[in-house]
Subunit: 325 residues, 2 copies
């Protein structure tokens, strides 16, 4: 590989591919843009669930069993919060808390989110660049039959049970693009861009709602691909399938590819869904069939290699999609 890969990712699912890319690419080869739509202020602390999942996953600080939070975690803080009658619906581990406390302190002192992210990634010893997609707040709001819910209210407090009637990304219309991403996306020598297999409505949606990011992706001269979060008509993890069906969308790779089709050149389909290859191509997209369900680290690296190879192949083509620019 020559040139960096920019990966846009949500939490647990996306972080698996990000880990594969991080392992396979040379030092400095991965630039990871994280969804901020899940971010919220909880107990006065700035909590960035998707960023932290990526930070912990790539650095090996994460709990591999749970997929979120830190390894060797203890829960005395939550226990004490409960004792004081405080809000205990969102679990914050004692080790994890250090991240939130130090981040909150830095943000309150006037540091930009991207600076704080950069310092955390370096402190964790990462050679990848990690950045929130924007320094400006974007908050995912879920409209349900019973009213609007902030993302974590929907996802954690209500366990993603309420039926969705709409999704909004508050702040997205005025949000700028993080300078790291702006820089890399405008460079002709990057290897390409990957949209990770994250929830298209709740993880990728809040990022793609940021107009400067859409513009940068459309103007990007390197190839852009997405990896399916849907395999065999179901989501690998989380409420993606239910979300799509709540909004009367087809639960299929093609439906997801359709959401991104004005921004991407190629789509990675799972081997189980190879029958949908013609439908992907009908969207004007290149298609790669691969094993997209990542359980082991080996599988994460294998998918990463497929994606890198796919980008390299698209690069050698005479030209990328017209529709993008």
């Amino acid at each position: 590989v020559s040139g960096e890969i920019v990966c846009l990712s949500g939490g647990v699912g996306g972080a698996k591919l990000a880990l594969g890319l991080y392992r396979v690419l040379p030092p400095g080869g991965l630039v990871l843009g994280l969804n901020t739509g899940d971010d919220f202020t909880h107990l006065g602390l700035e909590v960035w669930p998707d960023f932290d999942t990526a930070l912990y996953t790539l650095s090996g600080l994460g709990d591999r069993e749970r997929g979120w939070g830190r390894a060797d975690e203890t829960w005395s803080f939550m226990d004490a919060v409960r004792g004081w009658g405080g809000e205990d619906w969102f679990n914050l581990g004692d080790r994890d808390l250090a991240t939130h406390v130090l981040r909150t302190q830095a943000l309150r002192a006037g540091q930009r989110p991207a600076e704080v992210a950069d310092r955390l990634a370096r402190a964790a010893g990462l050679t990848a660049r990690l950045t929130p997609v924007s320094d400006d707040p974007v908050r995912t709001v879920i409209d349900t039959a019973d009213g609007a819910l902030a993302f974590q209210d929907y996802f954690v407090r209500h366990r993603a049970q309420p039926t969705i009637v709409g999704v909004r990304y508050e702040g997205a219309e005025t949000a700028g693009l993080a300078s790291v991403l702006d820089g890399y996306l405008s460079r002709p020598d990057i290897a390409g861009v990957v949209i990770a297999p994250s929830n298209p409505l709740l993880s990728i949606g809040p990022m793609l709602a940021i107009e400067p990011l859409r513009r940068a992706l459309k103007a990007c001269t390197a190839p852009v691909v997405a990896v399916t979060p849907i395999v065999g008509g179901a989501a690998i993890k989380g409420p993606t399938a239910q979300n799509l069906s709540d909004l009367s969308m087809e639960v299929s790779p093609v439906a997801v590819a359709g959401l991104y089709s004005d921004l991407i050149d190629g789509f990675v389909l799972d081997a189980k869904d190879r029958g949908q290859e013609p439908a992907i191509r009908d969207l004007g997209l290149d298609c790669r069939v691969a094993q997209t369900v990542m359980t082991t680290d080996t599988e994460k690296c294998e998918l990463a290699r497929e994606v890198i190879d796919f980008l390299a192949q698209l690069r050698t083509r005479s030209g990328l999609r017209h529709g993008r620019v």
Copy 2:
């Protein structure tokens, strides 16, 4: 006993007598005003060491071995802070952290310190009133040969080692008196006021530097007594003796009584120092000799009973000191 007792206290030493008073007095009988000179913002969190020591000690949540912090404490947060390269010179336990996080959130949301204190005390199930002596910030600054140090810098980071050349109470000149204390001190039916056996320069000093508190003590028609923090020429705990000698003050109960003599009617001397009774009386103060070193809970309750009895005795006198009003 009839009527409440107002106790002004610092941390560990004072909290022992406060616990005795709390155990001995009927529910609602103790009003505890805490030193705020040690309070500081650490890692973006509002930490109130003396208040928390009292809160934990009275509620039984505290660690009896250490004398500060919570029982059954874990230290994962500190470990993680260290891992991020954060400031680790001030130990914050995981359970203890819940107090700081919830308090910081409440203060940032605009609640007054006294309200926050009241909510914590009630949440801990206490029937005593606990209040910072002022809602306005007072910060103890230690002048040393090597320059000025914030209190916790001196006390924790430098382990109370530097030689003191002066002590200042920043903010004290404009600080008001907490309304709970203002209310009780102006009531003629309280049983009296006790200045706990805390460091006169670093714990009691920051409180007595608040002019409205001095005025309220002078105007108080109930008896006011202080308990010696010096026994046999040494402090029971902490740097009190060293502090007094650094500032060329005598390390004796009489020297401490002298610091308070315009505000108090009586002084409680340790049995070891009964020879100083005449010198105390020469200051125009009544004197009670008692066992002031409190190791067991029984000893805390016994000293509390002595103090209560002393206040009752002073009450029956024809009049309190003229000098006070």
